[in-house]
Structure formats: structure tokens, C-alpha cells
């Protein structure tokens, strides 16, 4: 099957084999850059409108005070995934996200950036301490991180691959008209998957950077008690 197998298209500098997924990823990147440049020249308002739409989607998903640090990652993730999912409707092209390597790469980027954002927001030690707040929860949390990566990548890969595969199978049986309907379903599923991937990444990030108010309150109370104790000690010393 041509949809499942990924062949080496050409070799770069005689040593680097380039598979078709990489080639289609480059084409996707070129299309995104071209679309943005053309829109910037011809219709700047439309570009602004698209950006506002992306930001409002992220704003709905995330529960943070300042959205600014997360917009570059999540917005570019959404736009890239959208174009990569939709590019397979062009005849002769394959979605880069129908390859497991692309989706695992995206999922690893998301999972590691979640931790980096959490460490930046809370500090390295206090962020790492949350994973073992009761110590026996540490293996569960680690398994959770692993399965989160796996499920993010498998969901995107399976959805896009199954859409492309069904279109290919139906095309080999009934080449006229019927693949159009299935292509429409594939497009809807691709847009939905881009939305879901971005929303899940936003949810993970906002759960990592959210400051636990209960912990904060207990810490403040302890600090207050310590201060009072020190004050009383000092006053005792002064009396003596």
C-alpha cells in the first residue's frame, strides 16, 4: 500500500537519506510561509482575524493570567497541524502527520515544553517536588507522562492515517464521485484533530503552570508561624 509505506525519495549530500514524509513536511512549511506572506501583502486584516481566532481558541482552553508566553508554541502547533492534516486532499500528496515519526516528534515537543513552562513558572525544585508529593505517586506520574506522549501521538497518527487509507481504498474501488464525500469527512476530521491536539496541549500546559492555592496558603501560614516564633524568641531574649 502506498499510503502506509514511506520510501526514501532522494539522498542529500550523498549521506542523508530523505524520506517522503520529510519532503512533504518541507512542502507544508513552504505553503504556510507563502500563504502568510501573500496574506500580509494583500489582506493584512484577514491575517489579523486568523490570529485573533487562534488566540481566542487558546484563551478558551487555558486558565492562566498571562497568555503571551504560550501563544508562539501553541499557535504554530495548531497552524502546522492544520495544514499538515489538510494537505492530503491535494492529489499526489501525503499528510506528514500520517507518519508516526512526525506525530511522536510533535508529542515529545508538547510534553517537554509542558515541563519547561512549569519549571519556569514555579521554579525547578518546587515543580519537581509536586510529582512526588506523596512519594508512592511518583511511578504513577511517570507512567502518566509516558502514556500522555503515546496517546497524543497515536491519536493524531491514527485519525489522519485512517482517513487517508479509507479514501485510498474507496478510490481503488469506485474512482468517481464517492471519494469526494469521504475527502470531506477527512477534512472535517483533520481540522478537528488539529483543534483537539492544540486544546490538549493548552490544557496540559495550564495544569502544569497553575499554582495550587491550598499549597500557597499552607506555605504562607507556616512562614507566618515561623516569624511569630522568632519574634517571641527575640522578645524573650530582650526581657532576659
Amino acid at each position: 500500500m502506498d499510503v502506509i509505506q514511506h520510501k526514501i525519495v532522494f539522498t542529500l549530500f550523498g549521506i542523508l537519506p530523505i524520506r517522503d514524509t520529510v519532503l512533504y513536511t518541507w512542502i507544508t512549511m513552504g505553503i504556510i510561509i507563502a500563504v502568510v506572506l501573500i496574506l500580509k501583502l494583500l489582506k493584512p486584516n484577514l491575517l489579523e482575524y486568523i490570529l485573533e481566532a487562534v488566540i481566542s481558541i487558546l484563551d478558551d482552553a487555558m486558565d492562566v493570567d498571562n497568555l503571551h508566553p504560550y501563544i508562539p508554541l501553541l499557535g504554530s502547533l495548531m497552524i502546522f497541524t492544520l495544514f499538515a492534516n489538510l494537505i492530503s486532499i491535494v492529489p499526489g500528496m501525503k499528510s506528514p502527520t500520517a507518519d508516526i515519526n512526525t506525530t511522536i516528534g510533535l508529542a515529545l515537543i508538547i510534553v517537554f515544553s509542558v515541563h519547561v513552562y512549569g519549571m519556569i513558572k514555579k521554579g525547578v525544585w518546587s515543580y519537581l517536588k509536586e510529582f512526588a508529593s506523596p512519594v508512592f505517586m511518583l511511578p504513577v506520574e511517570l507512567i502518566g507522562q509516558f502514556s500522555r506522549t503515546l496517546s497524543l501521538s497515536m491519536r493524531l497518527f491514527g485519525n489522519i492515517l485512517s482517513g487517508d487509507l479509507i479514501v485510498a481504498i474507496v478510490f481503488s474501488i469506485v474512482p468517481y464521485f464517492l471519494p469526494i464525500a469521504l475527502t470531506a469527512i477527512t477534512m472535517v476530521s483533520g481540522v478537528l484533530q488539529a483543534f483537539v491536539l492544540t486544546t490538549l496541549a493548552a490544557l496540559f500546559i495550564s495544569s502544569a503552570v497553575e499554582i495550587n492555592e491550598e499549597d500557597q496558603r499552607i506555605k504562607a501560614e507556616n512562614a507566618e508561624k515561623r516569624r511569630l516564633r522568632k519574634l517571641s524568641k527575640m522578645s524573650e531574649k530582650g526581657n532576659n
Binding site: M1, I4, D60, A61, S151, M154, R155, F157, G158, N159, L161, S162, L165, L192, Q193, F195, V196, T199, L200
Partner: protein, 92 residues
């Protein structure tokens, strides 16, 4: 049927199992997705103000539920196109 090698037997059993798996593995998630969508639409009809939030939550949960059937599809694809049993027992 007389000259059936073990390899052919494995292929036949794998095909039957793949068919059964795709039937059960799409039936159950679709049923559960229908229940989720039913509840969400009921909520939207009762409170039209909360419709956007409900729609977003419904889409996310539907995509999450869809993942189960996608896993089944992946396993079926592996069984049909890259069966690990054949290469393991018969060396390709």
C-alpha cells in the same frame, strides 16, 4: 484444507480476529459517543447560553472517545499488513 501449513492457519486466524476486533472496537466507542453527544445536545437545548462551552467540551470528549476505536484500527492494520507472528515463527 488438507495441505494447510501453520503459516496459512495463522493468516486465516489473524484475518478472522481482525474482522471481529474492528466490529467490536468500533461498535462500543460509537455507542458511547452517541450517549455523550445526546447529553451534550440536551444540555444545549436546555441552556442555549452555555452552548459554546458545551460544544467545545463535546468536541474534545468525542475526539478522546474516538481514540479508542483508532487504537483498534491501528492494531488491526498491524495484524493485516505487518503481522509480527509470521516473521517471528517463520522468519519472514
Amino acid at each position: 484444507m488438507e495441505n494447510m501449513t501453520p503459516e496459512v492457519l495463522i493468516i486465516i486466524v489473524t484475518t478472522i480476529v481482525a474482522g471481529l476486533a474492528i466490529v467490536v472496537g468500533t461498535m462500543v466507542p460509537t455507542w458511547v459517543e452517541g450517549k455523550a453527544a445526546e447529553k451534550a445536545i440536551e444540555g444545549m437545548a436546555r441552556q442555549p447560553d452555555a452552548a459554546p462551552q458545551l460544544r467545545t467540551a463535546m468536541l474534545i470528549s468525542l475526539a478522546l472517545l474516538e481514540t479508542a476505536s483508532i487504537y483498534v484500527l491501528l492494531i488491526v492494520l498491524v495484524l493485516l499488513f505487518a503481522n509480527p507472528l509470521i516473521t517471528r515463527f517463520f522468519g519472514g
